[in-house]
């Protein structure tokens, strides 16, 4: 009788488990799909919904670049090429070339950390596909420009101030070694109704 009961048990288990599985997928019919229909059927542009820390394509604000070459040294894949000349007499730094090859870039964020002003930063832009590799080298210096010299007190130039503020805001997301981020106290624990497993 053991074989016969196993036989009918198999049939019963098969029918019941398939029944349950169909009920689960049946309940999925009535749920809203999770898809975001990019790029044309979203409410806002996807780039605007991404968080501030998102590591998209790199961008340089040349107005606040000091020419310290810290980002070029930090990049592990050598995708940043900077040529800067320091005039020995006037001690003025001029930027001649600032190329970022976004094909080589691995979007790690190691270049934005050491920047003193936050001029090199990741944007939320991710649509960079193109047909040629030459167009992927972003050349940020069109004509030679002077590097930025950070002033001793707060910045006074009204054109540079918003850009500097944005750069410093971006930098403040990163951690400074050894110092706690201001206000890094965790929020109070959620109310006791959450099951404590």
């Amino acid at each position: 009788m053991g074989a016969a009961s196993e036989y009918f048990n198999n049939i019963k288990e098969a029918v019941l488990s398939i029944f349950e599985g169909m009920a689960v997928t049946g309940s999925h019919f009535m749920r809203k799909p999770y898809t975001v229909q990019y790029p044309d059927r979203t409410e806002t542009r996807v780039q605007d919904t991404l968080p501030f820390r998102y590591r998209g394509i790199l961008e340089v604000d040349l107005e606040i670049c000091t020419g310290c070459l810290a980002c070029e040294r930090a990049c592990p894949i050598d995708c940043i090429v900077i040529t800067a000349e320091k005039d020995q007499k006037t001690k003025v730094m001029t930027l001649l070339q600032f190329d970022i090859d976004i094909i080589k870039c691995m979007y790690c964020g190691l270049c934005s950390e050491p920047c003193p002003t936050g001029s090199i930063h990741h944007t939320t832009e991710f649509e960079g596909a193109d047909y040629s590799t030459e167009s992927m080298i972003r050349r940020f210096v069109k004509d030679p420009v002077l590097a930025y010299k950070p002033s001793k007190g707060p910045e006074t130039n009204p054109q540079i101030l918003p850009i500097l503020n944005r750069g410093l805001n971006y930098l403040s997301e990163y951690q400074v070694s050894g110092e706690p981020k201001p206000g890094s106290k965790p929020e109070p624990a959620p109310p006791a109704t959450t099951p404590e497993t």
Binding site: H28, P51, R55, C75, P76, M106, P180, K181, P190, T197
Partner: protein, 372 residues
């Protein structure tokens, strides 16, 4: 009567295949439907990552560690961070360790979801894959807010982590954990207890405990054979001793101990335990800095160190040798998938071709981890 010579076919389950998890090749000697042997051929994804470490230095190697195993990148980051810290004798602040554990456990959830989903898809059920990926997308969204990237995170640095928890993130993380628990039980109803699934997985690819230890299996593959070995409990690192969680072990209730069903169920139970750890971590996280002071040109003293991290695929070993300069002398990664490939050849004898796919899926083999 002369004996009939049945020709044995040599099939090639080539590097391009919908179901080998990555670029793997198997040379299958089959007698009709039943296999004589399936010989793995690895190396298609070798990128000399260990050699690259010698060129880019300690800080610069962190993004490369993401690519060693891109599905659970937080663990590789943590391994390299811990190796460099041990060489340079740096201590990570408490909040940094908590952030590391939170990120790592979320990544364990994501990796197990992916593994379970692809296993279901290889068996033939296509819906659990999309459901698992939907849950994984939500984890990706959380981590995107935390560190800016969705797959190759580069979240940890030598001495801690790069970003602190953004305001409001804890609420979102706890809400996600509340959302995930009923989904896991729904998963059980949809596939784990489904008779066809059980028939496909039970008693297939049985690994005994002695074999598992002989072949160097780690992680869920080892625990499914009944051996309770978890680096988080047995060689504790970071702040794992602060948390209270279980280590799920295979029980053999669906078939023999150590079959594919056990490996699958161990992963599902590990996800439940990860949720438990996460709730505790999110509640207990202290205030303070998250990154220790590490010089920009980091030059650890000459020496060597060995680190073991319990990644989603098992015990990941990191071995680093320093010669006093800013560039490591040698870095070596030992991953769980490499050992799992070794046992596939032995397991495949006498099974059917359909079972080969089941074994590869249940061992949770990820190709970049094998070849680095």
């Amino acid at each position: 009567m002369t004996t009939l010579r049945t020709e044995e076919m040599t099939l090639n389950m080539g590097p391009q295949h919908p179901s080998t998890h990555g670029v793997l090749r198997f040379i299958v000697r089959a007698d009709g439907e039943v296999m004589r042997e399936a010989i793995p051929d690895v190396g298609y994804l070798h990128r000399s990552i260990e050699k690259i470490a010698e060129k880019v230095g300690y800080h610069g190697f962190m993004p490369y560690t993401d690519r060693v195993d891109y599905v659970c990148a937080m663990f590789t980051n943590q391994g390299w961070g811990m190796a460099s810290e041990k060489l340079g004798k740096i201590e990570v602040p408490k909040r940094g360790e908590y952030c590391r554990v939170i990120a790592a456990e979320f990544n364990r959830l994501a990796s197990h979801l992916l593994s379970v989903g692809t296993m279901a898809m290889d068996i033939g059920a296509i819906t659990p894959f999309t459901h698992a990926l939907r849950e994984r997308e939500m984890i990706n969204d959380l981590i995107e807010e935390l560190c800016g990237a969705r797959l190759t995170f580069n979240y940890m640095r030598i001495g801690g982590v790069a970003f602190d928890l953004p305001p409001g993130w804890r609420e979102k993380a706890l809400a996600y954990l509340d959302h995930l628990e009923p989904i896991l039980s729904e998963y059980d109803m949809l596939i784990s207890f489904n008779k066809i699934y059980v028939e496909r997985l039970a008693n297939v690819g049985v690994i005994t405990a002695e074999e598992a230890i002989d072949y160097n299996l780690v992680g869920p593959n080892l625990r499914a054979c009944g051996i309770k070995w978890d680096i988080r409990k047995d060689i504790p690192y970071s702040v794992y001793p602060d948390f209270d969680f279980d280590v799920p072990v295979g029980t053999g209730q669906w078939g023999k101990l150590g079959d594919s069903m056990d490996r699958y169920m161990v992963r599902i139970h590990e996800m439940v335990q990860s949720v438990k750890i996460l709730r505790q971590a999110l509640k207990q996280i202290p205030a303070g800095p998250v990154l220790a002071k590490v010089p920009r040109n980091f030059k650890p003293p000459a020496g060597e160190c060995q680190i073991r991290v319990e990644s989603a695929r098992g015990d990941m070993g990191w071995y680093a040798v320093s010669d006093g300069s800013g560039y490591p002398w040698r870095v070596h990664v030992r991953t769980g998938s490499f050992a799992a490939m070794g046992i596939v050849q032995k397991l495949s004898r006498g099974l059917m071709i359909a079972d080969l796919v089941t074994i590869i899926a249940s061992l949770d083999v990820i190709a970049p981890e094998i070849d680095r």
